[in-house]
């Protein structure tokens, strides 16, 4: 599903040049659950953004579903992204002006799904993350755990092949965090590929493989993380 070859990302400001990713080669197969770990600033999020087609690498190749996408335009990436990738963020990133239902509905709108289909699919996914009783509420009226469940619902609603999670439990207490991780695990069980960036070893436990980054380079790739 995902294959990168010597992926490099360099950020330039006026004077400073920072290499966030340095020749990262990585493969994630369909159906895998991979955790990416590493200290702050090691390039985890940069990698996730590139994998999620939110950003282009400076050098190297990136094959997503057999497409070489490293020099796709924003429009091309958006097209590929909206059909195939769901995102879950540490800080939930829900739109405050939209209700729970409307937030979850958003990806379907941009996919051009008609409103009756949208309604049933949103209902279905809200049911799945057990938040349908709150569908008319606005994000700020929900607890953190509930917000993240909405975010997961939004990531799922378009039935993507890949879910990218950026520290999904970072802003949650442990019981809510566990709830979310269980949800992701369940999802992976039904065949969805998951790539998750995390600081937490406990969360990484849920993954089948851990990729460790340090200073923009892959240092180890374990099948299962040591406890």
């Amino acid at each position: 599903m995902i294959k990168t070859a010597e992926l490099t990302k360099v950020f330039r400001t006026d004077e400073v040049e920072t290499t966030a990713l340095n020749k990262v080669s990585l493969q994630v197969d369909s159906g895998e659950f991979v955790a990416i770990m590493g200290p702050s600033g090691c390039g985890k999020s940069t990698l996730l953004n590139i994998l999620g087609l939110l950003d282009n690498p400076s050098k190297g190749k990136y094959y997503f579903l057999e497409h070489e996408v490293s020099d796709y335009s924003e429009k091309q990436r958006a097209r590929l992204r909206k059909q195939n990738i769901g995102f879950v963020f540490q800080n939930f990133n829900l739109i405050d002006e939209l209700s729970v239902f409307e937030n979850v509905e958003l990806p379907l709108i941009y996919l051009g799904v008609n409103s009756t289909d949208r309604k049933s699919r949103v209902e279905e996914v809200l049911e799945k993350v057990k938040i349908s009783h709150r569908k008319k509420h606005f994000p700020l009226q929900l607890s953190g755990g509930q917000q993240q469940r909405v975010a997961v619902a939004r990531a799922l609603v378009a039935k993507p092949h890949l879910i990218l999670a950026d520290e999904p439990t970072g802003n949650l207490d442990s019981s809510h965090g566990e709830e979310i991780m269980k949800m992701l695990e369940e999802l992976n069980g039904t065949g969805t590929t998951i790539v998750m960036v995390t600081h937490s070893l406990r969360d990484a436990e849920y993954a089948q493989r851990i990729v460790r980054l340090f200073d923009g380079q892959v240092v180890t790739e374990n099948i299962k993380a040591p406890v």
Binding site: D55, R81, F87
Partner: protein, 803 residues
């Protein structure tokens, strides 16, 4: 998708209530003014177009040029109309003459009612063939065929006959002839270059002038219109007009005369001839208004742009998320454009209320009858929708492109610099707003300066304490000498005289052959026919020779007064040398008995030119030329003198209504156009400043919000309120100063150009510029410092706790 846009837009508008309010108020004022000005301009442009054949109707203009002196006359001699038709039968379909005996009022009576009718004209029977007026009763083809017939408007019919049937009723004109009503028409549309209440048949004039119409080619009192055949262009006739002039006009003058055809549709906005039926507007005024309207809208749109981009940080997360879940950039652009257009539609609805509120005052002020129901008309409705859409688009396009350019990666990381990117363009926009505002204030100041300059300008004659009474064809005119002597017994009256036109406002030209000119060289010079004491009444100084005097019995027939400019024009070296020179008229020789200082016989748009004052003695000329009595009273005795005049009038004229005016008012009418434009631009300048201030208020609030943390830290470090106010308002002051620097040269160039319209113009001076800048600075300063003050009053602990 649209539903989603709409929802988000609405919730955003509600979420940022104060910014939305600023936007909607600004936009609605902008749209309301734009629509009002647009309706005004549309109304002005529609003049005379209600005539079905308006594009084929032309007025014959006579240009008389005698070495730079003469006239551009809107009217022509009696024989011109029908000789033209005979000469060019293949080109001209029809002609009509309109005539008013060159008097501003005529006495019209019905039974015991009598009126000084201002809007009575005589016209050929072809009048209704060329012009279209709506007949309620009567037949347009025959209504003006018979002598003693008159067609009357509905309002005039009510005035004379009340609820009685007007058809067949007989009016008495000038106590000389009867006029039978043969047609009733709807009132003349306001969008006409001349208004009339009554139009009588030209054959009636024939009766008055003893059987035949004047056949002279010199006297040119008829406004003459030609209707061209379809497909004929005026040039086809104009190219042959020199031949026509050569064939018909007198040898002595034909070299100095030329004719041309002026399109009917151009008269109201582009014609500034001598002897216009009514004063016209100037298309330049419309351009100025159009520019102001455009600026108003632009400034309101800038508010929107500034506030939208400034507050964009609040929206950046939404944009980022939408992009992450699959929105294309163009979808985001569409969403934001949709929002600004929605906002603009709200503003349009508010604007409609504002227009409805403002219309009565606006109509009152402009003398128009514009109504909001006009907007139901598909063209206007379309234009309104288009303007709303365009305003929305204009305001939204920059924010939309700016906001949609956010990179989701950065936004979601919270990396979007807080509106910093758009900061520069926002500054440019604020500078633009203030530059326009300041320039408009300066221009308004200078326009007012010029208007007051004109009002107080030395015209070369006295214009206050002078009452004008129209007396043409009254008993008073016929026995003017005795009446004048009677009035002069009143100690409140300083002096009394009479003239044929109002000095400073209008005058005729008279035919002279100056001494030394060839036998066949007759020239036309601007002149007034006056009575004794003219110079005394108007305080016009004699610089050589003497005034008319009753002691010199030959003065009226043989004596002439000229001004200094005339001396120079005729090349007579100095005033003293002009004395005794001959000016030959067709009725005998006249000699210069006195030379006066120059005085302004027309508006100050033109310089004071050569001028002559003439007196007449024969009964017929007293009858023709004693049109206005001039009474100069002792200062402060105005009321007493008016009461006295009315009493004396009643003794002589019975029930004929007594009318009067003050010379000052008559003269200020010459600048009515400029004064109206001045007041309008003052109002709009205030509104523009208001809208710009609203925007600045929004921006300042936003900046204050943005810098709360900085303010908190500064306060912790010991900053005083004053230094915080300074810190925060300084940025804005800089912008206003830059705006000032831009606006100064622009408004200077513009107003210098505008003042070129006047022969007598005020100096453009510094105070207007400084004052305008100070106004803008003060407004900006107070807004920003108030905002800064409140920002600095919050407890730093509260501010810093947020982080």
């Amino acid at each position: 998708m649209i539903g989603n846009y709409f929802k988000t837009a609405l919730r955003n508008i509600l979420k940022h209530k104060s910014y939305s309010l600023i936007n909607i108020i600004g936009l609605s004022i902008g749209i309301a003014c734009f629509v009002l000005i647009g309706l005004y301009i549309a109304d002005e442009m529609s003049y005379d177009r209600y005539h079905e054949k308006s594009d084929r109707i032309y007025r014959v203009v006579n240009v008389y040029d005698f070495d730079g002196v003469g006239e551009n006359s809107a009217s022509a001699p009696f024989p011109v109309a029908f000789t033209l038709k005979n000469e060019y039968p293949g080109l001209i379909k029809n002609v009509v003459r309109i005539f008013d005996f060159q008097v501003s009022r005529s006495l019209v009576e019905y039974k015991d009612k009598s009126f000084n009718e201002k809007n009575l004209f005589f016209a050929d029977s072809t009048f209704f063939d060329i012009f279209d007026y709506k007949f309620v009763k009567g037949d347009p083809e025959t209504a003006l065929q018979e002598a003693n017939s008159v067609v009357i408007t509905e309002t005039a019919a009510r005035k004379y006959f009340g609820d009685e049937e007007p058809m067949g009723k007989v009016l008495r004109y000038d106590d000389r002839v009867n006029l039978k009503v043969t047609g009733l028409i709807r009132d003349v549309p306001l969008q006409s270059h001349f208004q009339f209440s009554l139009v009588a048949s030209m054959s009636t004039v024939r009766q008055i002038t003893r059987g035949q119409l004047p056949r002279t080619w010199v006297w040119n009192p008829c406004w003459t219109y030609v209707l061209l055949k379809e497909g004929v262009v005026p040039e086809e006739i104009e190219k042959d007009l020199p031949n026509y002039v050569n064939k018909f006009f007198y040898d002595a003058e034909k070299e100095n005369i030329s004719l041309y055809l002026q399109p009917l549709e151009d008269i109201h906005l582009k014609s500034k001839l001598d002897y216009e039926i009514e004063p016209n507007n100037d298309i330049g005024n419309l351009y100025i208004l159009a520019v102001i309207a455009f600026f108003l809208l632009v400034i309101a749109a800038i508010n929107f742009m500034n506030l939208a981009t400034a507050t964009s940080t609040g929206r950046s997360k939404e944009i980022g998320i939408k992009k992450v879940v699959g929105a294309y950039r163009k979808q985001i652009i569409r969403q934001f454009l949709g929002e600004s257009i929605l906002m603009s539609f709200f503003a349009m609805i508010v604007a409609l209320f504002l227009i409805e509120l403002a219309l009565p005052a606006f109509n009152d002020f402009t003398g128009k009858e514009i109504s909001l129901s006009l907007l139901v008309h598909p063209v206007y409705m379309g234009a309104l929708l288009l303007i709303t859409l365009l305003t929305g688009f204009l305001s939204g396009v920059y924010p939309a492109f700016y906001l949609s350019s956010f990179k989701p990666v950065q936004v979601l990381k919270g990396k979007v610099s807080k509106g910093a990117k758009s900061g520069k363009s926002r500054k440019v926009l604020v500078v633009m707003q203030f530059a326009i505002s300041i320039a408009l204030i300066i221009s308004t100041f200078i326009a007012y300066d010029q208007i007051s300059y004109i009002r107080n300008a030395d015209l070369g004659f006295k214009n206050d304490d002078i009452i004008i009474v129209p007396i043409n064809r009254t008993n008073i005119a016929e026995g003017f000498k005795e009446f004048k002597n009677e009035l002069q017994n009143n100690p409140d009256i300083y002096s009394v005289t009479a003239m044929d036109d109002i000095l400073g406002k209008a005058h005729n030209t008279h035919e002279f052959r100056p001494e030394g000119y060839p036998e066949d060289k007759w020239n036309f010079y601007p002149a007034l026919v006056v009575h004794y004491d003219f110079l005394k009444t108007f305080d016009i100084k004699v610089i050589a020779g003497r005034d008319y005097s009753e002691l010199h019995k030959t003065d009226p027939m043989k004596g002439l007064l000229i001004n200094e400019a005339m001396v120079r024009h005729l090349g007579w070296e100095c005033p003293e040398k002009a004395l005794g020179k001959k000016l030959i008229t067709i009725r005998g020789d006249e000699r210069v008995i006195g030379v006066t200082e120059n005085f302004n016989v027309t508006s100050l748009h033109q310089p004071a030119g050569p001028f002559a004052l003439n007196m007449k003695e024969e009964d017929w000329s007293i009858h023709w030329f004693t049109n206005f009595m001039v009474v100069r009273h002792i200062p402060g005795k105005e009321k007493e003198v008016l009461a006295y005049l009315e009493k004396k009038w009643k003794e002589r004229e019975g029930e004929r209504p007594f009318e009067y005016s003050f010379l000052e008012d008559e003269l200020s009418q010459l600048y009515e156009g400029e004064e109206k434009l001045g007041s309008l631009s003052l109002i709009f300048a205030v509104l523009i400043i208001f809208i710009a201030s609203l925007g600045l208020f929004g921006l300042a609030s936003f900046m204050a919000e943005q810098r709360t943390k900085e303010i908190g830290i500064r306060k912790v470090l010991g900053a005083q309120t004053l230094s915080i106010i300074k810190l925060m308002s300084f940025d804005f002051m800089k912008l206003v100063l830059i705006a000032t620097l831009i606006s100064w040269p622009l408004s200077y160039i513009f107003m210098d150009n505008w003042l070129e319209n006047f022969a007598y113009r005020t100096q453009i001076n510094l105070p207007a510029f400084v004052l305008a800048a100070l106004i803008a600075l003060t407004i900006a300063m107070s807004i920003t410092s108030v905002k800064a003050y409140f920002a600095s009053q919050t407890d730093p602990v509260d501010i810093l706790k947020y982080e």
